[in-house]
């Protein structure tokens, strides 16, 4: 619950006398208050130890004493110096901001909550002020006049609070005339905090699991196969088609990699069933892997080194299996990693071939270097070439809108393919308002490691702008399904909808494909892939 301190327990008479003006303190002097619902639990020592990360310990952000190592200040300043030398973008972003304010009101956390330190310009300033105070001559001399400040323990607390209230969604960067990417600054902030062992468990545990077993949940190969058995049984139940996919098959043409949430969490499993059905129908020569069983890469939310370590597994597995190229499923940040980091970190993958669709012959030149094709590129190409038999009428009880997931939209530019597929597999599609979709899409507010239950209040707050646009199309067009192509979205948007627009449920794109796909040897389809009646019973009106 919100701050329960005595002074806030106001009686009605007192309320009318309140002065509503906020404190006029300079932002540098407003310390953060760690209240339940606004911070993520810290990384458990055992996970940090497993990954060989420094300063593992038991502590809580709500404690006064964070048990920082004695030389914490040197660690941070040296860490900053190292990164300023190593990453040119970091140094440039520190130097060139002119404080024009174009980004200020573009962050969903500021829009939804009004905390000024959630304005991207100020979020970056949290670190820039320390940079100025310690690494620039003007800052050292002029101090505060130049926006510089010293490094104190309160600054570290502030970093922790606000760099874990940034979903690294990059909406702000779309509006910056200088192309400053606050998400990159947040990433640097988190890297520095990691040096002090100040990381969050929701990120570090998946990283440790992924490093150990190949996926976030620590699912081992036999358990993973069991999970697939259940999905395959459900597919057979609902379509009459028996599917037998292969795992870890050497010599397959294609390796398919998707986030683990797709085969374990609702509603991702229905999207996963969509992949299975599509590949089966095509007779695609592909394999799943129980080792590269995670498309997600929470290394992205930890450090550059960690991105590299986790991402390397995918190429290593592709090499071991001797596949020609890779298809990746509906994941968000996986594509940011593929698109922006994989090639420089672990590429070039010369042992793979430039992807060519075996069904249509289309050469995916955009994936020439990474050798990895996005599933919506693959499927859109199939539809374009008339290779699929589709019955969009099977999705008629759904009135659909599409949320551009931040990473595929802004870090990769996949805007048309998902829309093309949706329009071909369903008849009722409605766009949300222009300034809330495509490059300007509003974040689900649960990405970059924020999607945990203890952050619920912040998530609902930051997700309000997204939900508000969904509510608009719900009220106006009776929209009852929100489609997206990201596993984090599928989980976090479901909860977000439950709070703000409970009539709307969340769906992946290939779930819609699964419903519409007419398969060889299928029985009459009376239920959708969720096992729910395909058509509303007469007289029942699901459209509000």
């Amino acid at each position: 619950m919100p701050n329960e301190s005595k002074s806030d327990e106001l009686k009605q008479d007192e309320l009318v006398k309140i002065d509503y003006k906020p404190p006029k303190k300079d932002w540098m002097d407003t310390p953060v208050h760690f209240r339940h619902g606004t911070y993520i639990y810290p990384a458990k020592a055992k996970n940090l130890t497993y990954l060989g990360l420094p300063n593992p310990r038991e502590w809580s952000p709500a404690d006064e004493d964070w048990k920082l190592p004695d030389n914490w200040k040197d660690i941070i300043l040296n860490g900053m110096k190292e990164r300023l030398d190593k990453y040119r973008s970091f140094k440039v972003f520190m130097d060139i901001c002119v404080r024009c304010g174009a980004c200020a009101d573009k962050c969903h956390f500021f829009i939804g909550g009004g905390d000024p330190k959630n304005m991207p310009v100020l979020r970056a300033e949290l670190i820039r002020s320390v940079y100025k105070g310690n690494f620039t001559a003007a800052g050292k001399i002029l101090g505060r006049l130049n926006g510089a400040r010293g490094l104190t323990k309160d600054v570290i607390k502030e970093w922790f609070y606000y760099f874990y209230q940034c979903t690294e969604c990059r909406r702000c960067s779309v509006f910056c005339p200088y192309g400053i990417d606050t998400a990159e600054i947040t990433m640097m902030g988190r890297e520095l905090l990691t040096l002090l062992g100040c990381n969050v468990n929701w990120v570090i545990e998946p990283v440790a699991n992924c490093y150990r077993t190949g996926n976030h949940l620590g699912i081992q190969p036999h358990a993973l196969k069991d999970m697939f058995e259940m999905l395959l049984d459900d597919i057979q139940d609902r379509t009459g088609v028996k599917i037998e996919p292969t795992f870890n098959r050497k010599g397959a043409e294609i390796l398919f990699v998707t986030p683990s949430a797709d085969y374990f969490a609702d509603p991702g499993i229905y999207t996963c069933m969509g992949y299975l059905m599509l590949f089966h129908e095509l007779g695609l020569d592909y394999t799943w892997s129980t080792y590269a069983s995670e498309g997600g890469n929470f290394g992205l939310f930890t450090s550059h080194e960690m991105i590299k370590r986790l991402n390397a597994k995918i190429y290593a597995e592709a090499k071991r299996l001797g596949v020609k190229w890779i298809i990746g499923g509906e994941c968000g940040h996986m594509w940011r990693v593929m698109h922006q980091y994989m090639d420089t970190m672990n590429g070039p993958a010369d042992f793979l071939e430039e992807p060519v669709s075996p069904i249509t012959g289309t050469r995916f030149e955009n994936a020439k270097s990474t050798k990895m094709v996005h599933i919506t590129e693959f499927t859109a190409d199939l539809i374009k070439n008339n290779k699929l038999k589709l019955d969009p009428g099977r999705n008629d009880k759904l009135r659909i809108t599409f949320h551009d997931s931040c990473n595929p939209a802004r870090a990769m530019g996949i805007l048309e393919e998902p829309r093309y597929i949706i329009k071909n597999v369903c008849n009722n599609f409605f766009e949300m308002p222009e300034n809330t979709i495509r490059e300007q899409t509003f974040c689900c507010a649960g990405g970059a490691g924020l999607g945990t239950d203890e952050m619920m209040e912040i998530r609902m707050r930051g997700g309000m702008p997204r939900a508000n646009a969904v509510k608009h199309v719900h009220d106006k067009h009776g929209v009852n399904r929100l489609t997206c192509m990201c596993a984090i979205d599928r989980a976090t948007l479901s909860t977000l909808m439950e709070y703000w627009v409970p009539d709307v449920k969340v769906t992946g794109i290939h779930e819609l494909v699964a419903n519409a796909l007419v398969m060889k040897g299928e029985k009459e389809r009376v239920v959708d892939i969720r096992g729910e009646a395909l058509k509303e019973k007469k007289g029942e009106d699901n459209v509000r």
């Binding site: 919100p2 509503y20 906020p22 006029k24 009004g114």
Partner: protein, 186 residues
């Protein structure tokens, strides 16, 4: 002249001042954003405030419906419930209106019979306060429910996948008896 007529005449100024007071309950920089960004999708909170206070005032001057005002109040409280407010601060915006009316209508309230009318109007506002508080509690409870649900869903799926759960089938013989009746359970 009756109080509702006076309030109706002063509607614009009351709305403006009320909006400013609510906006000022947010930290520095936010108030001017809430006020100046007029696009309803770029500034959903500011837009919600505007819709809500207008609906409330419309009810008080007998131009709007209670239902509409309730809906907007509920929605605005839904927003306040996830913002950085204590419970009392989250619902105090209606008290701001009361104070504002006392300030704005100071002279008029001296006139004969006016104060009685004001008291009646005030109790209508009080009822809205109570309804808002119920909304507040509803949404705070919802937040905790969502937390629990996320946690449960995750745990349940894992158990199910590991074949550690047992599900009754519809045709299970156990369902033929009324198992809820304790007498039948020997």
């Amino acid at each position: 002249m009756k109080l509702i007529n006076i309030l109706s005449e002063k509607k614009e100024i009351v709305l403006k001042k009320w909006f400013d007071k609510i906006a000022a309950s947010y930290p520095v920089n936010a108030p001017s954003f809430l006020k100046n960004q007029k696009n309803q999708f770029a500034n959903p909170v500011g837009y919600t405030i505007e819709e809500t206070i207008e609906a409330v005032l419309d009810v008080l001057i007998n131009e709007g419906t209670d239902k509409k005002a309730q809906e907007f109040l509920d929605r605005f409280v839904q927003v306040r419930a996830v913002q950085d407010f204590t419970p009392s601060r989250a619902v105090d915006f209606l008290f701001m209106l009361k104070q504002l009316m006392k300030d704005e209508l100071k002279d008029e309230l001296q006139e004969k019979g006016m104060y009685e009318e004001f008291l009646l109007m005030e109790s209508r506002i009080d009822r809205m306060v109570l309804a808002s508080f119920e909304s507040y509690l509803k949404y705070r409870e919802k937040i905790y429910e969502l937390r629990v649900n996320e946690f449960k869903n995750m745990a349940f799926r894992l158990l199910e996948r590991a074949n550690l759960t047992f599900e009754f089938k519809d045709d299970d013989p156990a369902f033929e008896k009324d198992v809820s009746d304790s007498d039948n359970v020997k």
